[in-house]
């Protein structure tokens, strides 16, 4: 379980995130939905420990070196092979090459296994970054718009790989997305953010089909159209 207590983040005096209390249960999948600048990425970075909140704390049971996997919005493709890009996350495993090949296969990138990852497209880099995250058993996955640059086939592969991984490991997933459809497909719960505040939080079907807050209603109107 992960508890967010009184977390507030300010940049040069401007509050970009204010979450008084939020709880993520083990094994569930959460979608962070909201417009640009609503605080989704900031919340994920705080949960991952990439940035520190101005106020408040995050208490997590997912402790340990590889317990948490965080995939940034624009992951970096290192200038060596795709295989090495994945094995770098699991250097301590004796059979890392086999594990990496399996993860690369799961995201449909086997044909590019020896390609230079720094020369791949944005969507391909996202798929490699996702393979890097799922190459090892983790308790918590934090994914910042993991399919933002990916084509439809890639999205399908990534979503299937994510659901398989969750089924096998029972990990908690928190992901940011702009797609209500993706939130519906993947998430048990949806957290709708607006200007750094939680506008709505609940079961996916409830939030996406019967939003209560005006912000969520306005955002989802575009989807229905």
């Amino acid at each position: 379980m992960i508890q967010v207590l009184g977390v507030r983040k300010e940049y040069t005096g401007r509050c970009v995130l204010d979450v008084p209390s939020l709880c993520f249960e083990q094994g569930k999948r959460y979608a962070l939905l909201g417009a640009n600048g609503s605080g989704k990425s900031t919340l994920l970075k705080i949960l991952a420990g990439i940035i520190k909140p101005t106020e408040g704390t995050v208490q997590s049971e997912a402790a340990g070196k590889n317990a948490v996997g965080y995939m940034p919005q624009k992951p970096y493709g290192f200038s060596f092979s795709v295989l090495r890009n994945v094995t770098m996350a699991i250097d301590a495993c004796p059979n890392r090459k086999e594990i990496a090949k399996s993860a690369i296969g799961a995201v449909g990138m086997s044909t590019l296994i020896n390609a230079d990852a720094s020369k791949l497209s944005g969507g391909e880099t996202q798929r490699i970054a996702f393979a890097r995250i799922i190459a090892i058993q983790r308790k918590l996955l934090l994914l910042d718009e993991p399919t933002a640059s990916t084509d439809l086939n890639g999205i399908d592969l990534l979503e299937k790989a994510l659901l398989n991984y969750c089924g096998e490991t029972g990990c908690t997933v928190i992901f940011a997305t702009h797609s209500p459809a993706q939130a519906m497909r993947l998430a048990n719960q949806v957290i709708f953010l607006q200007q750094g505040l939680i506008a709505e939080h609940g079961e996916s079907k409830q939030v996406l089909h019967e939003p209560q807050s005006k912000a969520a209603q306005a955002f989802l109107n575009h989807w229905k159209l």
Partner: protein, 227 residues
């Protein structure tokens, strides 16, 4: 045609003074860049990757020093190494060591600033991905440096280009003494003043050729390969 023959004669003829001048210039530039890199690269990495109080001020001071006039750098070294200066007892003024010191004063801020800029931008991208998969900060840094290897070679070549083409500081700290501290740029200046234009043109040509090669290498290493 006669001018070309004269230049070739000076460069490849029996008198080896010009060749010694070129060799001394290359040695001076090499050691200047070597020492500046040993100081400037670690400092640049710290400045680019770490956040600490006063970092903004240090960056502004470094940026200011990057544009320091060479004669000012030479003057500082002259005052320190002259007989009445704090290091006068070392008797280093008008020597290769003095010229290298003056060059180091000029080039170190350039290497520091360029390193901070190059590594800092890349570190931000690499560190987020690396920390996201549980890698330690030291591993993030080593991957960042690996990813910056081409640009770092370009930074060193830029420093070398500055060192080899510089005249003011080496003139003041070295004194342009024949067979001792006479380098290409000071020789060109002196030869022009004396009306020995063939010598000035010959050395100018060699200097331009070296600058062209350095710039070519710097461009080759700094450009990103096509995706």
């Amino acid at each position: 045609m006669q001018a070309v023959n004269d230049v070739a004669g000076l460069l490849f003829g029996p008198d080896d003074e010009l060749r010694k001048i070129i060799w001394l210039t290359l040695r001076m530039s090499f050691f200047s860049v070597l020492i500046s890199s040993a100081v400037g690269i670690p400092f640049g990495v710290i400045l680019g990757c770490l956040k600490f109080p006063g970092r903004g001020l240090v960056i502004r001071v470094t940026t200011t020093l990057m544009g320091m006039p060479p004669v000012v750098g030479g003057l500082i070294v002259f005052l320190i190494l002259s007989n009445s200066g704090p290091l006068g007892h070392l008797r280093l003024l008008y020597s290769l060591e003095a010229m290298v010191t003056a060059q180091v004063v000029l080039i170190t801020p350039i290497i520091t600033g360029l390193t901070a800029n190059t590594v800092g931008v890349r570190y931000k991208q690499v560190a987020e991905t690396a920390r996201g998969i549980g890698l330690s900060p030291s591993k993030s840094l080593s991957y960042t440096l690996f990813e910056c290897r081409r640009q770092m070679i370009a930074v060193l070549l830029t420093g070398f280009g500055r060192a080899i083409a510089e005249v003011g500081a080496v003139q003041i700290a070295g004194g342009n003494i024949q067979h001792k501290t006479r380098v290409m740029t000071t020789t060109i200046m002196m030869a022009t003043n004396m009306g020995r234009f063939n010598t000035a043109v010959a050395l100018g040509g060699v200097l331009l050729l070296i600058a062209f090669l350095i710039n070519g290498f710097a461009h080759f290493f700094s450009k990103e390969e096509d995706a």
